[in-house]
Each structure stands twice: as C-alpha cells, then as structure tokens.
C-alpha cells in the first residue's frame, strides 16, 4: 500500500528529529519537538522538496510550524503542481 503524505512526512520527521514515527502526530510542532530548531527546519524543507519533487518559498517555509500544517502545504503543492 502506498504510504499517505502524512506517513511520508512522519517518516522524514522521525529520521530528522530522532524520535519514533509513532510519537509524531499532526499536532507535533516546533514547540513540542525539541530537536526542531531552525537548521532542522531547513533540513526538513529540503528533504520534503527532494521526496515530493516540489519547491517551497521562504514564506511557505515559515508557515510550517507543525506537522499538520506541513502536510497541508505539501498536499496543496502536489494538487497544484502540473502532472
């Protein structure tokens, strides 16, 4: 079964932040994940860009304050990107 976008984001975040995927929810945020600092934020954005073949602007990057908002942004990007 193809993993959902949430599951893929969850996996990337788990690798980056060094916490089990099961502990990462849509509500997980820069406030609740200690390892989610500004450099890891950029690493997360770059990993998402590579995985989904999309590109984020700095303005979009700033909106990614939680896993939920990040997933939503990725979904919007994929819906709007030319196939």
């Amino acid at each position: 079964m193809t993993p959902t976008i949430f599951e893929q984001v969850q996996g990337i975040a788990s690798d980056l932040f060094g916490i089990p995927a099961g502990q990462i929810t849509r509500e997980s945020s820069t406030e609740s994940i200690e390892a989610w600092d500004s450099t890891q934020h950029l690493n997360l954005v770059l990993a998402l860009e590579e995985t989904f073949s999309i590109q984020f602007s700095p303005e979009e990057m700033e909106q990614m304050r939680s896993i939920g908002s990040t997933v939503k942004l990725v979904e919007n990007k994929l819906q709007n990107s030319p196939r």
Binding site: S38, T39, H41, P58, M61
Partner: protein
C-alpha cells in the same frame, strides 16, 4: 504577517538602519552591520556583466529582520564548462538577539538556495561560527583552505604577534627569542633550508603593471582545465576585481624567456589586532599552470619583502600552490578559511575528498575582496 524576502531597494535603507541599531542596542558584535546602501559599492550590477553583487532583505510587515548578499560570478570546471556560481555572504538575522526571529537565518539561506542552487560560502572565520555550523548540519560539502605565512622580520613577529602572545609565559619566551637573536636565527635557518631543498627555479622576470589586459587571456585559457573549479580569471574579470584605479593592489606580470607564465596580485592586509603593529603583506591572488606556481609565488613574496612587510600571508587551496609556498619558506598554520558547497555545487565536484585539493581558491575569493585579504 509572514516574513518576505525581497531585493534590497533604496526605500528599505531607513528600515535597515533601524535593524542595525536594534542589533547594536541588544549587544550584538559591532561588526554585525548590514549594508547601509541598497546599491553595492563594490561590484554593482552593470548591464552585461557576469560579476556583480546583489543584496536582499527579510521584511516583517515593512520591518527589516535580516538580510544577505550574493556575489554572482562565473566559475570554470575541469570539464571545460563555465557556470554561474553564487557566493553567499553577510547573512544577518535578528534571531541573534531575539529568539522570535530564530528562523530568519534559515529563511535567508533557503531564499539564496532557491535563487542560486549552485551556492558556496568561503571564509566564515572558523567552524565554531553559526553559519558553518548550520552548513555542516545541512550536509554541505566543506573543507579548510590552507593558510600559509612567512616571517620576514622575526624580531617584529615575536614582539607583535598578539595571537601567539596569549600568556605571560609565551610573551616571556617570545621576548627572549626576539632580544637574544635566537628567533631570528631559527626563522632564517628554516627559510634557508626550505629554499635550499626547493627545485631550482629557471630564471624569470616580474614586472609591476598598472592594469591587466589581453595577455592574461591565453594564460587563462591554457590552464583552466587543470583546476577542479576556479573563478573565471580572464582579463575582463581581473579588470573588474583589480581596477587600475584601486591602488591597494600591486599587479605582477611574470615571464620566462619573454613568455608569460603567470601573474599575481599582492597588497597590504588591513590592520588586525592579532597581528599587533606588524605590517602584513598578502599574496591575494595568482594564476599560472601549477607547474609554474613556484616562480609566481617567489616573485610575489620577493615584491612584498622588498616593500618592507614584516609578515606575508596567503590562503591557497590547490596543493601545488601550497607546495610552492612551502618551497619559498612559508609555513602552514591553522586556517579558519572554510570553503562550503551546496549539495548541487558539491555534485559537480565529486569525488570531493580528492577534488578539494585541486580547487583554485585564494584570498581573492569569498570574503577576501575588496579589503579583507
């Protein structure tokens, strides 16, 4: 309001001034000041030029929260390709004094990466600084560009080199070496021994010139492919970097049997408290086939010695230029001049471990020009 990053325009200058004042008021290092003028004083964008600077600011509802600069420059690669590479410099974020803006540093870098995927940083002052720490964590390829120095006047070096005179014991020891003459003897012996062991240099001539012209172009063309990567150093680029009107530099044309073999640019390094009151000369830039590095380095060092400098310094990434410096009596010391390449740029330099010593990077690259060489 989300933070937006825009080209720095004259209408932002007042907000940049306020940004600088906020950093200063919060106790930031006095050197951490963003450019007052939106128009770069050095390398402004001129129609048709490949070598220019551009500035950007991060705006939060009209308030400047950070900024950065890019130097756009053509670089040549060993496969003969020439690509536009950007040098990312002077990133400054309000995050250094206000945690609410901690993300600004990452936003600036992301903006630069979107704009110029082939991005590099050079200099940065050592791995303990925030920017190189961030680049390492982002997985950028990186290495140190070796630093070399030659002591011309051992007495002055021993009495003035503040970076080494860091304790009472060291100061006493250095003063003893200076006053007794043992320092002079040791420095002379080391230099003489290195020069004695160096291969014999075929006779050459070095001529001071006012400006670079077309004679450098064949030298540029003949030698580009021996370097894994080098900033384009043709006559047009050199006239821009070392304009005839800039009297801080001495330009040297080096010939053998009437044929051009290379060139060098030397100059006086600006005062730095770690060097005390010493006059420090710098081999800023140079070009030749690596086989002819030795006469070029010798010519540059001789001119600086004859000009009365106490110490001569240089950064060179290519191993044969480093070897030439050592053969002229230079010693290698710890470097804080870091080269870091974005993943896209590093992909062009694979295998990086091997190619890092085949890059041609000097003090003229990165943060070296116009005055920090």
């Amino acid at each position: 309001m989300p933070i937006v990053i825009q080209p720095y325009r004259a209408e932002h200058e007042a907000a940049v001034q306020e940004f600088n004042l906020r950093l200063k008021a919060a106790g930031a290092d006095p050197d951490l000041v963003f450019f007052r003028s939106a128009q770069p004083r050095w390398l402004p964008h001129v129609e048709g030029s490949d070598l220019y600077q551009e500035f950007f600011v991060a705006l939060d509802d009209g308030v400047v929260r950070g900024g950065y600069a890019l130097k756009q420059q053509n670089f040549s690669f060993a496969d003969g390709s020439v690509r536009r590479i950007a040098y990312y410099h002077h990133p400054l974020s309000e995050g250094i004094v206000n945690k609410s803006y901690a993300v600004v540093g990452s936003l600036l870098l992301k903006h630069a990466m979107n704009r110029s995927p082939l991005l590099h940083c050079l200099g940065m002052g050592g791995y303990d600084r925030p920017l190189p720490k961030m680049l390492v964590r982002l997985g950028w390829a990186h290495c140190l560009v070796p630093f070399y120095f030659s002591i011309v006047r051992p007495y002055r070096f021993l009495r003035e080199m503040q970076a080494l005179r860091s304790s009472v014991g060291r100061r006493l020891l250095m003063d003893f070496a200076a006053l007794s003459g043992t320092g002079w003897a040791a420095a002379r012996a080391q230099r003489t021994w290195r020069r004695f062991r160096a291969p014999a240099i075929k006779p050459f001539t070095a001529e001071k010139i006012e400006e670079f012209s077309g004679w450098v172009d064949p030298l540029w063309q003949q030698n580009t492919s021996v370097y894994a990567m080098t900033a384009v150093r043709d006559s047009a680029a050199l006239r821009t970097l070392y304009a005839a009107s800039d009297h801080h530099f001495t330009r040297l044309r080096i010939r053998r049997n009437g044929n051009d073999i290379g060139w060098a640019v030397v100059g006086e390094r600006r005062k730095d408290e770690k060097y005390g009151a010493m006059r420090v000369g710098s081999i800023v830039d140079c070009w030749a086939s690596p086989e002819d590095a030795l006469p070029v380095v010798r010519a540059a060092a001789d001119v600086l010695e004859q000009s009365g400098y106490d110490l001569i310094v240089s950064n060179q990434s290519h191993y044969q230029w480093g070897r030439a410096l050592e053969q002229c009596g230079f010693l290698q010391a710890n470097s804080n001049f870091i080269f870091a390449a974005s993943k896209s740029l590093a992909a062009l330099l694979q295998p990086f471990e091997k190619n890092q010593s085949l890059l041609h990077l000097t003090r003229a690259d990165g943060d070296g020009l116009p005055r920090n060489f």
